[in-house]
Symmetry: C2
Subunit: 296 residues, 2 copies
DNA sequence: GGCGGTTACGTAAGGCGTAAGAATT
DNA sequence: AATTCTTACGCCTTACGTAACCGCC
């Protein structure tokens, strides 16, 4: 098989159509260049050049091989550059898991900033619940998770990206909606409520239960996502306690009122990543995450 | 810069994730393989592998470089193959010049057979008059010409591809058309005639003049191509002497009658090529030309 | 005779294999 | 102790440069 040096030698000769000038360009003397070209032709079993009294010409095969060689050398030059860029995290792949709510709040801004900071980094988005995200971060199939607390201490680093209060979603024709003021937990005691699933949305369920005393009879439906709640509220199936940001998107037939007793940082969304990740693209993204962090 | 051998070594290690097995695959011992990989990493300035107690893993940069290396090696393998195919004339470019009449007769069959014989050969077609074709063959910008005699003896080889008689094109409402029989030259003595240009179609002009006694007063127009003649005949500008094959394509308003005195091989179309051409694609095409040849 | 490519020969660099070493399980 | 990668050393291949050579305008 031929070598890259032979390819470079051939390209030089083919472009100069003159061995001595080509040798000069390659910073070598002319005889070894001749030998290399001969060797190249021998290993290929193809005549690339027509030696004539007045310099050299390319055969048809030489023309074809010249094109191939140029492409080959270009690739040989660019491959190390790419490898270095990947190592520096300038290009690469970032697999981001996120909850469905995250896509309505910080996700857009996060992607914008990552793209600003490291334009070559491709992002793969996967909507997944918190527990799956932790799994992904642990087994290396995910680089960043946008998930709910608690953050497992081991091998997972995190910053809080979003702190918000809880709000109450009620139908437009509900008395509380007409009143238009913040709602107190006591006013929800007897309301039909749509609740979070204990398996799929434990974080929210715990959060709501810690504030309200929810009785089984109140609960009309059990769902896994805040958005589903809003659609059910619109359909008249009851009221729901949701993160405040879910109210930013006005949904027809639904009025969102703040919940008086909810601390402003009741609901948290954290960015998490494996502290042991060796994905350089993650390293480029970390400054972005820290910029977006809010104090918890 | 790295070498192709280093690329091969890296691919082997990256695929085996084990130096000893990779070395075996490369038919070498393990220590020099280690050194080559180290050297590769040093020249790239990039860590490609994570050496761990239980074998090796790829870094993100390593993954990227692996992909590049595979493509690089594939190209390095295919380039010589391409060069050999070009040399053998299996692939390549054939520049064929042809007269406009050739495209109505042998050209289609010729292209079909070339494509059968050498499917990798790309054909570039250029309509040009005979004299331009000879120039092209001589200065190397054309590989094959489909042109009219005479064939210059020097450096041009040829085979006759088509021998045909002359015919007479007359308007449908002409008395000769109504009669529907072969025409004699004497019957054309006083007919208005469309003639060939002496500069652009000398071959045809000479041919016609050698058979007919054309007087200047007869000539209504002077044109360079037989097809133009047919359109002028249709428009009622006179009659014309054309190659018989031009009558194969029935043109509305025109009747083509054979010319009694014309020998069956009066009009000749030859394939010509430079005997000094070094285009391998031409060599693949020559058997095809010989197959299509007719005896003159 | 000069221009342009090839052949001959001595030197130096670099790769390979064997053997020994270091680290982890 | 075994596995797996790295380091040390001697040999040999091979590429380079200088010098001499061949063919053609």
């Amino acid at each position: 098989m031929f070598t890259l040096d032979q390819a470079r030698a051939f390209v030089a000769v083919a472009e100069e159509l003159h061995f001595s000038r080509a040798a000069e360009r390659l910073h070598m003397t002319q005889p070894p260049l001749s030998r290399q070209i001969q060797k190249l032709e021998a290993t290929l079993g193809v005549h690339l050049l027509l030696r004539e009294s007045r310099g050299v010409r390319l055969t048809a095969a030489g023309e074809a091989f010249l094109i191939e060689c140029r492409q080959l050398l270009e690739k040989a030059e660019s491959a190390p550059v790419r490898a270095r860029l990947v190592e520096q995290g300038k290009i690469g792949l970032l697999r981001i898991g996120h909850t469905s709510m995250a896509s309505f709040s910080v996700l857009g801004e996060l992607l914008r900033r990552i793209n600003e900071e490291a334009p070559g980094v491709k992002v793969e988005l996967r909507e997944m619940v918190t527990s799956r995200q932790i799994e992904g971060l642990t087994d290396g199939t995910l680089d960043i998770g946008l998930a709910r607390p608690p953050v497992p201490e081991e091998f997972i680093d995190s910053v809080p990206l979003l702190l918000e209060g809880l709000a109450v979603a009620v139908a437009d024709d509900h008395p509380l909606a007409r009143r238009g003021e913040a709602v107190s937990v006591d006013e929800l005691r007897t309301e039909p409520l749509i609740m979070y699933s204990i398996t799929e949305a434990q974080y929210f369920r715990d959060l709501v239960v810690s504030l309200l005393h929810v009785s089984d009879e109140q609960v009309t439906y059990t769902v896994s996502q805040a958005l589903t709640m809003v659609t059910l509220v619109a359909a008249g199936h009851g009221s729901a306690v949701i993160p405040a940001s879910a109210g930013l998107f006005s949904f027809p037939g639904v009025t969102v009122l703040s919940l008086r007793e909810s601390p402003a940082d009741a609901v948290q969304l954290h960015a998490m990543w494996s502290s042991e990740s060796n994905n350089p693209a993650l390293r480029s993204a970390l400054p972005v995450l820290n910029t977006l962090a809010v104090s918890s």
